[in-house]
């Protein structure tokens, strides 16, 4: 991209506007800059990353071992089977769900694996077997009575307080079943028998009642391979589904979850309706059915309805499970991270550090919190950046070699410019600018998302949020007596507490929301950066999230110009000289577009 400052003759004003915008973009993202800030960020991020992983050492097996908190079974399930639902292109949820299975896993197992799996493979026979359920009246109360009648034909509670477990139910005897069915097929239903039969059959003809008796017998036969407790759970689920309506959009759509389930169990794809989004239905092939039902049991979604299964994650801890090998690998990782912090072979050790960081995170996602997110961001960008080009052993080795070569060149009277340039300071690089900008923009995303999302919470509006953070007995240092006394002091002086809480809440909201806008103004940047430092120091001290705060400070460092860093590190002479080289990444040129 051209780096022209004057408008070439013959360009229209819009062309010139585009050119100026392109130039501003080029200056902003690609103007070569000194990588010293990135070097400092690498040192800090490297040390903190090393600390984080060193802290894993006593818990290595509990967090990352095959029998850890997230054991191999859980980790594999989340990695390989995790369900990503389809994108719905209409307003209906029918595209996502063909069945809403029971909430409880045990009930799901009973309903899907122990009952639905054993329904007849042949669709016509299956439909006949479930005809009783299909013919239940649409009224939920009447249908519920119908279900209760069928349930009583199959199982009986051992006592009045029985709950749906196999221990508390028994199968109804043949005699009990015949007796109850006999009531249904009596020529006339006596008033005394009515309370044992569903209301909707009371006024039916004998012939119709005989049909119902026949269909309910076929239905209860489907449960012959199901245990009494599981049968109770099947009925429990069907009963619950009766009460959950669905807003149907078309005549053929189910009107309740019960109807949706029945459609799933009995429906068949129609060749003339390839776009029927109500399916797919229960597979006729028993092996395919088993796979589908097992997936639904685990993930609550039909695998044929999900967009994708599994996650794009990797970790060596998924595969290294031997405790000794784990210890050796962990030690190797710590060495690599130490080298990264020192800046030795940084291009290699940064990439290895990043792979290691992700491996720990991905293996036990359950122990991860915001700090790990920030650590990953820091290491990710530092892997791309020339973070070893300054304040590193790589740089020290490069300078030592350059000195040697310079002396040799002088002795041999060869050109020395190359070696002198290396010794003059870290090479300015467009990549350093580009990655620094990425750091800065990402940081603004973090602050904006964090600040704006807080606006949803009443506690941020009434300023109680700050109290909730530093009086939190598990997070904050209230476990330490002096801090506890401070909190009690606040509680005893409302005005003091209210003022502090209001200041804290307003300060947090203002900084997080305003930062992404104001930090780009050079005159305001130092105030914003100092504001951020204060915020994260406060978070570290008052909420105990020290390492999180430290990583946020690392990201915040990306706004510090390299010459400031050099000044801090007493490399003043180099900093003065570097003023001749292009502008540092953190300093934004004032651009008019």
């Amino acid at each position: 991209m051209a780096n022209q400052s004057s408008q070439p003759s013959g360009l229209s004003s819009s062309e010139s506007g585009w050119r100026r915008a392109a130039q501003a973009w080029n200056n902003f993202f690609f103007k070569p800059s000194d990588p010293t800030t990135l070097g400092l960020m690498r040192i800090c991020a490297g040390i903190f990353t090393l600390y984080v992983h060193l802290a894993h050492t006593p818990d290595l097996y509990h967090f990352f071992g095959p029998k850890g908190w997230a054991d191999h079974e859980l980790a594999t399930a989340l990695r390989k089977e995790y369900a990503t639902p389809h994108v719905t292109w209409t307003w209906s949820d029918q595209q996502s769900y063909n069945i809403v299975p029971p909430m409880e896993r045990r009930v799901r197992q009973a309903f899907l694996l122990n009952w639905a799996q054993h329904l007849p493979a042949d669709p016509t026979t299956r439909r006949e077997a479930l005809e009783y359920l299909l013919s239940l009246p649409p009224n939920a109360a009447h249908a519920g009575e119908g279900l209760a009648f069928a349930e009583y034909l199959v199982i009986r509670p051992k006592s009045e307080t029985s709950r749906p477990t196999s221990d508390n139910y028994r199968l109804a005897t043949e005699e009990e079943r015949r007796q109850l069915l006999g009531l249904l097929t009596k020529p006339t239903i006596e008033p005394v028998d009515k309370n044992q039969l569903p209301a909707f059959v009371h006024d039916l003809t004998l012939e119709r009642r005989q049909q119902i008796a026949s269909s309910v017998e076929r239905f209860v036969k489907t449960m012959s391979r199901t245990s009494p407790g599981d049968i109770a759970m099947v009925f429990l689920h069907l009963n619950q589904q009766l009460t959950i309506p669905i807003s149907a959009r078309r005549e053929t759509d189910p009107r309740s979850e019960f109807q949706r389930t029945m459609l799933f169990l009995t429906g068949q794809p129609e060749p003339n309706q390839p776009d029927d989004d109500r399916g797919p239905f229960l597979p006729n092939n028993l092996e395919e059915r088993r796979q589908v039902l097992e997936y639904i049991t685990k993930w609550m979604l039909d695998p044929r309805k999900v967009y994708a299964q599994g996650q794009y994650i990797f970790s060596f801890w998924f595969h290294i499970t031997d405790p000794r090998l784990m210890a050796v690998t962990h030690a190797g990782v710590l060495v690599v991270m130490a080298l990264f912090a020192l800046g030795l072979w940084t291009r290699i050790t940064s990439a290895l550090t990043w792979i290691a960081v992700l491996s720990y995170i991905n293996r036990c996602h359950q122990m991860v919190f915001g700090m790990d997110t920030m650590m990953n961001i820091a290491v990710f960008y530092l892997t791309i950046a020339p973070s070893g080009a300054a304040l590193s052993l790589d740089r020290w080795l490069e300078k030592r070699r350059a000195l040697r070569e310079l002396e040799k060149a002088r002795r041999d009277r060869r050109p020395t410019a190359t070696w002198e340039a290396i010794l003059a300071g870290p090479r300015p690089s467009a990549l350093a600018t580009f990655v620094t900008r990425c750091f800065q923009i990402h940081f603004c995303f973090i602050y904006a998302a964090s600040g704006l999302s807080k606006l949803k919470g009443p506690a941020w509006w009434n300023h109680q949020a700050i109290w909730n953070t530093f009086a939190n007995p598990e997070f904050s240092p209230v476990v330490f007596e002096p801090f506890m006394q401070f909190v009690i002091l606040l509680a005893q002086h409302r005005w003091l507490a209210e003022i502090l809480m209001s200041l804290g809440a307003v300060y947090t909201l203002f900084l997080e929301i305003a930062f992404p806008f104001l930090v780009w103004r050079p005159v305001l940047r130092p105030y914003m950066v100092v504001g951020g430092i204060l915020l994260h120091t406060g978070i570290a001290l008052l909420m105990g999230l020290t390492v999180f705060g430290l990583f946020m400070l690392v990201l915040l460092m990306s706004f510090i110009p390299p010459e400031t860093v050099q000044r801090w590190l007493e490399l003043g002479t180099k900093a003065k000289e570097s003023k001749a080289v292009p502008a540092p990444p953190a300093r934004i040129d004032s651009v008019r577009v």
Partner: protein
């Protein structure tokens, strides 16, 4: 950004070719079909060193296009070089392939186009971040579509899925997890039990910055997600009220009314995946086995215990953050220690609060309303629902 080099690669070219060949040897085992644990380990080592050699060559000569081509081939080949059981590394192999190919294209492009391409990549990257930060709760449809159809592999692979909604909508209480471990009868027919609670300060603070403690707090946070509006039938409420009756009934918490406020059903993932895994882990911990080393664990009851944040007004009247009544236990069920399966999904107390509360001491008659348990301890008795629920086991002696 460096100038492009297309001339011969010299020693680093040979290094990269060596790396590619090393990975190729590992892949050859796949083709030949030789499998054993030793060969698998050798293949992993070969791929690692092969990738390292290619990486060193690229590091030393970052502007050589041919090196990027070799790196792309090496990354692609490493997918087959890794043994099948290291399947997660196919993701890393894919990432490496794409990264090396993009690197090669960027190096090959003239400077202006290179900047354009880098800008496009950056815009794509931050588009992904935008879809992630707008993702939680009720995301815009466009975010969902972009997140699922476009950015899912990218963001998952780089672990950039966080929405950064810290302390949003507002900071809430943290939780502990309490495990009541009941052993089978031992050789003498005696049944016993023990408790395991985490996280606990200072026991779980094994590093100066307390990271180990916060890690454990993160684990318990996974059990905090609950279904916002679960179906609570009249039958369920009736069963809960019935459980409160009698001398050893599990009381209801008078501060959390109506009754629905005392019911917290965890989300599917928490209930069906995470909790069983936690149970299996606790059941396997050597430090939680029966002292005789033989007796097996019969079952494990789990409670998620919300630790209330005391309002200033409660602190002012003398209540303290670690008072027993600041813990709000929710019963998550009794589990099989081997499988982590819930033993009784019909348990009437399942997902209900099992409170620890102060109640007026009946022996004291009428108690003035301004009396508090802290200032007038004799006027009150502590009713510990958890102790009653576990048959009188004293959980304050927990490990």
């Amino acid at each position: 950004m460096n100038a492009t080099h297309t001339e011969p690669m010299g020693v680093y070219g040979r290094l990269a070719l060596g790396g590619l060949a090393t990975i190729g040897i590992a892949a050859l085992f796949e083709v030949v079909g030789w499998t054993s644990s030793t060969i698998s380990a050798a293949r992993v080592v070969l791929v690692f060193f092969g990738a390292l050699l290619v990486g060193i060559a690229l590091w030393k000569r970052p502007s050589y296009i041919r090196l990027y081509m070799l790196a792309t081939a090496a990354a692609f080949l490493s997918r087959f070089g890794m043994p099948a059981e290291w399947d997660s590394f196919s993701v890393l192999s894919g990432l490496g392939t794409i990264a090396a190919a993009i690197g090669g294209v960027l190096v090959a492009l003239p400077e202006g186009y290179r900047k354009l391409a880098a800008s496009a990549i950056m815009l794509f990257h931050f588009g992904g971040i935008l879809s992630a930060v707008t993702g939680p709760l009720s995301p815009p449809w466009l975010s969902t579509v972009a997140g699922i159809l476009v950015y899912r592999p990218y963001l998952q692979c780089l672990y950039l899925t966080n929405a950064y909604h810290f302390y949003s909508p507002e900071p809430g209480p943290a939780s502990q997890a309490w495990f009541f471990i009941k052993y089978k009868p031992d050789a003498n027919g005696v049944t016993s039990a023990t408790w395991y609670k985490f996280p606990r300060r200072p026991q779980d603070m094994t590093d100066p910055l307390m990271l180990s403690y916060y890690r454990r707090l993160s684990l318990t946070m996974r059990l905090e997600d609950y279904i916002p509006n679960p179906i609570i039938t009249d039958q369920m409420k009736k069963a809960r009220v019935l459980a409160a009756q009698g001398e050893n009934g599990i009381p209801l918490h008078f501060e959390y009314m109506p009754l629905e406020r005392q019911y917290r059903m965890p989300t599917d993932v928490a209930r069906d995946l995470i909790l069983p895994s936690f149970v299996r882990h606790v059941a396997r911990r050597p430090d939680l086995q029966h002292p005789d080393g033989q007796t097996k664990i019969e079952s494990i009851k789990v409670y998620r215990v919300e630790h209330r944040i005391l309002a200033p007004t409660l602190l002012e009247v003398g209540m303290r953050p670690y008072d027993p009544t600041t813990y709000l236990p929710y019963y998550l069920g009794e589990f099989d220690p081997e499988t982590g399966e819930l033993l009784d999904p019909g348990d009437p107390l399942l997902y209900w609060m099992v409170p620890i509360i102060y109640a007026p001491n009946p022996a004291k008659g009428d108690i003035p309303p301004w009396h508090t348990p802290r200032k007038n301890p004799d006027d009150f008795i502590l009713i510990d629902g958890v102790r009653r629920h576990t048959g009188g086991s004293d959980h304050t002696l927990a490990k």
